[in-house]
């Protein structure tokens, strides 16, 4: 496994951090047709596989996209009702504190333990690590 090395990637990553701007969860509310037009007009980060839309009682829907402040202003200027939500990049930075440091499995010398309950495992006295 060549994983401990960051080689050139790390230095490049550090440079890129300064360049790539924060993304916000932006909520755009409109009718179906206008939202479709919006997706045609702007190439937007809509999540993983497909856009996420919450239908509203008034037959509009709220679309969540991930956009920079600049892109949010562009969408606003195009006449869409857009609300800047959470700074998801900042949330991600916060969550980076919940990522493991080092190697808790010591290169494979320690096996992980599963979260699922194994009924009766104590009676059998099994240990897997």
């Amino acid at each position: 496994m060549n994983d401990q090395t960051d080689s050139g990637g790390s230095n490049q990553s550090q440079r890129n951090q300064d360049i790539l701007p924060d993304l916000y969860a932006a909520l755009i509310t409109d009718n179906h047709e206008n939202l479709k037009r919006l997706l045609q007009t702007f190439e937007l980060d809509v999540g993983c596989r497909h856009p996420h839309l919450e239908p509203n009682p008034d037959r509009t829907a709220t679309l969540t996209v991930y956009a920079t402040e600049e892109r949010i202003r562009e969408i606003q200027a195009a006449g869409y009702k857009i609300e800047r939500g959470e700074n998801v990049s900042a949330l991600g930075r916060e969550r980076q504190k919940e990522v493991g440091e080092g190697d808790r499995f010591k290169g494979g010398r320690v096996a992980p333990r599963g979260l699922g309950e194994k009924p009766g495992r104590n009676l059998k006295g099994g240990s897997t690590s």
Partner: protein, 425 residues
């Protein structure tokens, strides 16, 4: 406990293979990422003399969807622990017996490739959290914002979307992109990336793979093929291999729909529903089962090109000597965020892993009269029929498929109620 980093994912796989050598095997993937990482997968199953039906789980394609590899590692660990201890497995309100776990480990090869895009994950976890793609700079022209290819648009399924799809199909913003700055940039060629080459290599090394799930986030969806157009089960000529339909795919309600056998479609939905029920049983999370072309809970359509699930299913249609693979994408987490806390993620792991165990159980060959008949049919087909006659005759778009469909349409409505009635007694 915390999210696994890229080093820990590989160490976990190596550690599991070392701890359970009689029921698992470390698989070293041959293609190195651009940052020089080599990935590993794990095969879980007793014996290796006789190839068994195999199930493949992959995750981590999109870097910012952190929980996928954690789901996979925990799933593999639970399966190995429970089998070794001779216990069942309990995930909240969903439980599996020791016999069910035994049947999975002894009758299947379960292959887990937990992190197909380690470069992207490293960048997301250490630098720019919202990063989605891999870290291939080849098309970037030196610009940071143009680095990377979306692995899940790089598979060889209608990859050349500008030719295969209608111009209007791009409207949803999900199809693919030729712009390296785009988050759905599809690369310079199908399988141009080490990440997807490794997945393809697994399919080639384990031709008995019959079931496949690519784990993503978020949405709370269980998606199945096809992802390019509306499914239809009547006209075999309308299919992704037929160039006559180029430029017309990806729009709903028009002449084109992607052919899928009615039995396959029913099976996709049935297995998806079984997974969804298992997930709901854990803590009440309701995952929607849908064809990936459609957005669940909204009437719109969102086609994709070059996605893993469609490519895996399509292999049989482009080469009928290959196994037909029941393919899915799971979008875990009903809450709209890529970054649940680790505490929240632990609950999601229990949910999804309960679904994955159910999925495996559906893949286990059943040794009933029906399954013996099925094996006999397969033997007749593959050992004799397929050797003697060309695929043009017996393949998925050939006349034999049409004859089968006509026979099924006549007899299944008669036979099904009789079987159901017999079972209820």
């Amino acid at each position: 406990m915390t999210f696994l980093n890229v080093v820990e994912i590989e160490s976990a796989v190596i550690g599991l293979a070392g701890t359970y050598p009689s029921i698992s095997q470390l698989i070293t993937l041959p293609f190195f990422t651009v940052e020089g990482r080599q990935s590993h997968a794990l095969r879980i199953g007793t014996g290796n003399a006789c190839p068994k039906t195999a199930v493949l789980f992959i995750s981590g394609a999109h870097a910012r969807e952190w929980g996928g590899p954690d789901i996979c590692i925990n799933f593999a660990t639970d399966l190995l622990e429970a089998y070794s201890l001779g216990t069942g497995l309990v995930y909240g309100g969903t439980s599996y017996t020791a016999g069910e776990i035994k049947s999975i480990v002894e009758r299947l090869d379960v292959i887990v490739f937990p992190d197909i895009n380690p470069d992207g994950r490293q960048y997301s976890q250490k630098t720019y959290s919202m990063w989605r793609k891999n870290r291939n700079p080849a098309s970037s022209g030196g610009q940071a914002s143009k680095i990377g290819v979306d692995p899940n648009r790089n598979y060889d399924f209608l990859w050349d979307f500008n030719t295969a799809f209608a111009p209007g199909a791009q409207a949803g913003g999900t199809l693919a992109s030729t712009d390296p700055a785009s988050d759905i940039f599809h690369g310079t060629a199908p399988f141009s990336e080490a990440e997807t080459q490794n997945v393809r290599w697994l399919f080639e090394q384990y031709p008995q793979i019959s079931w496949f799930i690519d784990i993503h986030s978020y949405g709370g969806d269980i998606l199945h093929s096809w992802g390019d157009d509306t499914n239809q089960s009547t006209t075999t000529d309308k299919n992704f291999t037929n160039a006559a339909w180029n430029g017309q795919r990806g729009l709903p309600g028009d002449a084109y729909g992607e052919y899928i056998g009615a039995c396959d479609l029913a099976k996709f939905a049935s297995v998806g529903n079984a997974m969804s029920a298992a997930i709901a049983g854990v803590a009440g999370q309701n995952y929607a089962v849908a064809q990936s072309f459609f957005l669940p809970s909204w009437g719109s359509t969102y086609p994709t090109s070059g996605a893993s699930d469609d490519w895996a299913f399509s292999r049989y249609f482009t080469d009928p000597t290959k196994r037909k693979v029941g393919s899915y994408t799971i979008e875990f987490n009903l809450v709209k965020t890529f970054f649940p806390s680790w505490t929240e993620m632990q609950a999601i792991i229990l949910d999804v892993d309960a679904g994955l165990v159910r999925f495996c159980l559906r893949a286990v060959p059943k040794f009933s009269i029906a399954s013996w008949w099925c094996l006999l049919k397969k033997w007749i087909y593959e050992a004799i029929w397929h050797k003697v006659l060309p695929p043009e005759l017996w393949g998925p778009y050939g006349p034999w498929e049409r004859i089968k469909r006509i026979v099924e349409s006549i007899f299944l409505p008669i036979v099904r109620p009789i079987i159901r009635n017999f079972r209820e007694r």
